[in-house]
């Protein structure tokens, strides 16, 4: 089996991640932050150590700025629904995932509006200009993906963030597809809300996500409940990060995510990204040699792209191509990738695209096998 669907979730996970989850389920079985016995304290310590690792990994001010969520989508919803008020306006890009567009569409009922800024691949100046032009007097947030989950296009988030701050506007970054592939430094970029998927480039288990923010105190909660603190009060605690973490936490997932971060610290993000870019560029070159393959972007320069590649075969729906690949035990993702806006951008809404995303564990022969199968697919 060849797994090239790492943009959906990474597989396989490092053995250290498997071991950490196994250890957590067997030895950290108590509810963290609830009781005073040793195992509960030990469980809480594991969560804290993971917060600390994530905080260091992204250069956040401290572990208390790291909020665990179920996934990146939930982190984004926490911000949108905890921050935005009727009358507010949000600027997003024209290639967003539904994790950004759907919550905003739902918020239109409350009188919150949004505009899409056009993205110009490989032209950061033009993209920045489009974001600037989309700002109006009601703009309360700029929210955009760091990298498109369909086309791999990188947005110049540091520059967009600096520009947003010039106008006194906070910035949310959906880093689901970039974390673990591009180093992100919060101390330098000053991103206000960084939303992460723990189970993709960070190599944690599914069911893990993170919101990193220094604005937790002023952000309202959308979920309230038990936190193990201030139990006498009916009012939600205002202490971060616990105020956003009502209910029992996914300790097993968090322990796995902690091991995922350690794996990245050991191997280094830059080295993994280099490996993945080499594979994607090799794939790109080989695909350009196949007559009936349609590519939509220029050769993915790491400066402007994350290591993933989407293509089509002339006359075929992407799902049909994926089905053939599946028969050869090559696992990719076809269709719209929950990002219709990104497909609209390249006029692929009618048939989607076949997305290939390697990981640290992908080998060159995996890509060769994919290429050999693609070569044999005849256009219909």
């Amino acid at each position: 089996m060849i797994y090239l669907d790492n943009a959906a979730t990474s597989y396989p996970k490092p053995q250290s991640v498997v071991a950490a989850t196994n250890y957590a389920i067997n030895s950290l079985g108590a509810n963290p932050g609830r009781s005073g016995h040793n195992m509960s304290i030990k469980s809480a310590l594991e969560i804290y150590e993971c917060r600390k690792s994530i905080s260091k990994f992204f250069y956040a001010p401290g572990p208390e700025n790291v909020i665990f969520t179920l996934n990146c989508t939930q982190a984004i919803n926490f911000v949108f629904k905890g921050l935005l008020k009727p009358g507010d306006h949000v600027v997003i890009s024209c290639i967003e995932h539904n994790a950004i567009t759907r919550p905003l569409k739902a918020l239109e009922e409350l009188g919150i509006t949004f505009s899409e800024a056009k993205v110009y691949p490989k032209d950061n100046e033009a993209t920045l200009g489009a974001f600037r032009d989309a700002i109006n007097s009601k703009t309360a947030l700029i929210a955009c993906t760091h990298a498109s989950n369909v086309w791999g296009i990188r947005l110049p988030i540091s520059r967009i963030c600096a520009m947003a701050h010039e106008y006194g506007i906070p910035m949310l970054v959906d880093a689901a597809q970039s974390a673990g592939h591009i180093p992100i430094n919060l101390a330098e970029t000053k991103i206000d809300y960084l939303c992460l998927a723990g189970h993709k480039g960070l190599y944690g288990p599914m069911g893990t996500g993170v919101l990193i923010t220094t604005h937790g105190e002023s952000l309202s909660t959308i979920i309230q409940g038990g936190t193990g603190l201030n139990s006498e009060s009916y009012l939600q605690t205002d202490v971060i990060p616990e105020k956003f973490e009502s209910g029992t936490q996914n300790l097993i997932g968090i322990a796995g995510l902690h091991a995922g971060i350690k794996f990245l610290n050991k191997i280094k993000v830059e080295k993994i990204a280099q490996h993945e870019h080499n594979l994607i560029n090799y794939l790109y070159d080989r695909l350009t040699e196949i007559k009936n393959v349609e590519l939509y972007m220029d050769k993915p320069d790491p400066k402007y792209f994350v290591p993933l590649l989407s293509f089509n075969i002339t006359g075929m729906h992407s799902e049909a191509v994926s089905e053939i690949l599946n028969k050869h035990q090559i696992y990719v993702r076809a269709g719209l990738h929950c990002a219709p806006a990104a497909h609209k951008f390249c006029n692929t809404l009618d048939r989607g695209a076949v997305r290939v995303c390697p990981s640290a564990f992908t080998k060159k022969q995996d890509i060769d096998t994919l290429i050999n199968v693609v070569k044999k697919i005849k256009s219909r």
Partner: protein, 78 residues
């Protein structure tokens, strides 16, 4: 050598862990403990038991912007 023991009640388990990290890095012995009922917490929560150098520990935490909600002298049966 000062041997007074005190419990610092902090706002959350995360801050208790952070405080513990910090104090241990400065060589001060301390432990996480559950605080069953505290007025400042409106119920239960967590604190950090400081075994030694209580005043120095307080200074370190204050300098690190870790808010101590309440200090309790450790009693034998606590």
């Amino acid at each position: 050598m000062e041997k007074r023991k005190e419990v610092f009640i902090l706002s959350s388990i995360t801050y208790v862990m952070k405080a513990k990290d910090l104090l241990k890095s400065k060589g001060i012995k301390c432990e996480t403990i559950r605080v069953p009922n505290s007025e400042v917490l409106s119920g239960c929560g967590y604190g950090i038991l400081i075994h030694e150098k209580v005043d120095i520990a307080e200074k370190i935490l204050t300098n690190a912007n870790i808010k101590i909600l309440e200090k309790k002298i450790m009693e034998e049966n606590l």
